[in-house]
């Protein structure tokens, strides 16, 4: 069964190919619940091309009986058809791409069907029921929170091997955390973070002033849509939403052990989350200090690229450069006139911010090569991502 591969897992980002022969040759069965949405479609696409997953089932109440290609055109020609969500068959790994609140209500059913559950919603990302009371609408299955491992592999890789409940990190939180993490890890901001010891614990204790502005594409709103999502209303916008109190702040606080002033704008792109964070370190910092921090954190990471004022057209991170990939681009610039460090990070929200990150985490949990099924480098040029 899937959980049996845990002893084969690597915990070293430097050695993403250091998997055992058993794991490298292994194929496990997998299904996707909530497969008709954007993240679900990306999961289907990734799993269909993955060397170690055998895709069994895709559920959708709305589209039951139709082929998965009917909603996800890249998968046209695939014989797999949607089934009712209540008709789960036994598999090794179950990926849940359902709206927030669904997985916590069905988690026992999910574990009846699978050894490993990878949840893409926010249902198991936070450590405590109290956090769900504060940031969401409470929690129906708090006993599972301690069991879940947060899937931002760059920060929590060591706890993912063998994990049987994986909570894939949120898109905006992923972009923000990856941008700011090296500053905390190297003491440029704050002190020890929850991330460094992997426990994700601790009250926000930092007194840093951090302002985060994230520009997001329309796919973050899901495939359902609403009045604000019609083309006539959505096209051309630079629209503030959740100007304060965005729920992803909870993940950021949990993993960086600090609070942030966080605002999102919906902009005219389909894929992508681009986070710009403004920070003011207490002590003077040099460009060399910043490069040391970012290089040491990320130079061995398979899915983080640095882009910070180099040459060419794409000098800083932007969603176009990572569209369709599981890559996060991270960069920064120092303003010597006032000591501000402005940090940029860009991801494809449906990939590194959702389905790609979930598959990356599953690869680690099951002992597969970290990059298995995820080594697509992207396209250039592309239009609006």
């Amino acid at each position: 069964m899937a959980g049996g591969t845990s002893t084969a897992a690597t915990t070293d980002a430097d050695d993403t190919t250091a998997v055992t022969e058993t794991a490298a040759a292994k194929t496990v069965t997998a299904s996707v619940v909530g497969a008709s949405g954007f993240a679900g479609g990306e999961l289907l696409r990734l799993l269909a091309g993955h060397p170690h997953f055998d895709l069994q089932q895709a559920t959708s109440r709305q589209h039951a009986g139709k082929s998965i290609g009917s909603t996800h055109p890249p998968l046209r020609g695939t014989e797999l058809r949607y089934t009712e969500p209540t008709a789960l068959e036994s598999v090794d790994v179950l990926f849940a791409a359902t709206p927030h609140g669904v997985s916590m209500g069905r988690i026992d059913e999910f574990f009846d069907a699978a050894d490993t559950v990878v949840d893409l919603s926010a249902d198991f990302r936070l450590d405590t029921a109290a956090q769900y009371d504060e940031w969401y609408d409470g929690h129906d299955a708090p006993a599972y929170l301690e069991r879940a491992e947060y899937a931002l592999p760059e920060l929590n890789r060591e706890n993912l091997p063998g994990a049987d409940l994986i909570a894939s990190g949120g898109c905006n939180a992923t972009a923000t955390i990856l941008g700011l993490y090296p500053l905390f890890e190297h003491g440029i901001l704050g002190g020890e973070t929850g991330a460094t010891d992997g426990d994700g614990a601790g009250e926000p204790g930092g007194d840093e002033q951090i302002v985060v502005d994230v520009k997001v594409g329309s796919s973050e709103g899901g495939a359902g849509g609403g009045a604000a999502s019609s083309h006539a209303e959505r096209s051309g916008v630079v629209r503030p939403y959740a100007p304060t109190g965005h729920r992803h702040e909870a993940e950021i606080e949990q993993w960086l052990d600090t609070s942030v002033a966080f605002t999102c704008h919906a902009v005219d792109m389909v894929r992508g989350a681009s986070a710009t964070s403004h920070v003011f370190p207490d002590a003077p910092v040099s460009e060399g200090d910043l490069w040391t921090a970012y290089r040491e954190c990320y130079e061995d990471e398979p899915f983080v690229r640095l882009a910070a004022g180099g040459s060419g057209v794409y000098r800083y991170p932007e969603p176009k450069a990572v569209a369709g990939t599981n890559v996060a681009e991270v960069g920064f610039e120092l303003d010597p006139s006032n000591g501000r460090v402005v940090v940029f990070s860009a991801i494809d929200n449906v990939m590194k911010g959702s389905a790609g990150q979930a598959v990356h985490a599953a690869n680690i949990a099951l002992g597969f090569a970290e990059t298995a099924g995820l080594d697509f480098a992207g396209l250039h040029p592309v239009g609006s991502p």
């Binding site: 290089r295 910070a308 180099g310 040459s311 060419g312 000098r315």
Partner: protein, 54 residues
């Protein structure tokens, strides 16, 4: 092999390096001018400034 003056990463250089040549760092992407060849000395290459509405 030498070191990028911007980010500190190792920069691999080819054998027939010439002074004045421009190379780029594969880590940070900055363009570097070869000032001396033996031993190699690099410095950040001058850039054309772009005015994005400033």
């Amino acid at each position: 092999m030498t070191t990028c003056t911007a980010c500190g990463a190792d920069v691999s250089l080819h054998d027939d390096l010439e002074a004045g040549e421009i190379v780029d760092c594969t880590t940070c992407g900055v363009e570097l001018e070869v000032i001396e060849t033996a031993p190699p000395v690099l410095d950040r290459a001058p850039e054309l400034e772009e005015d994005w509405g400033e």
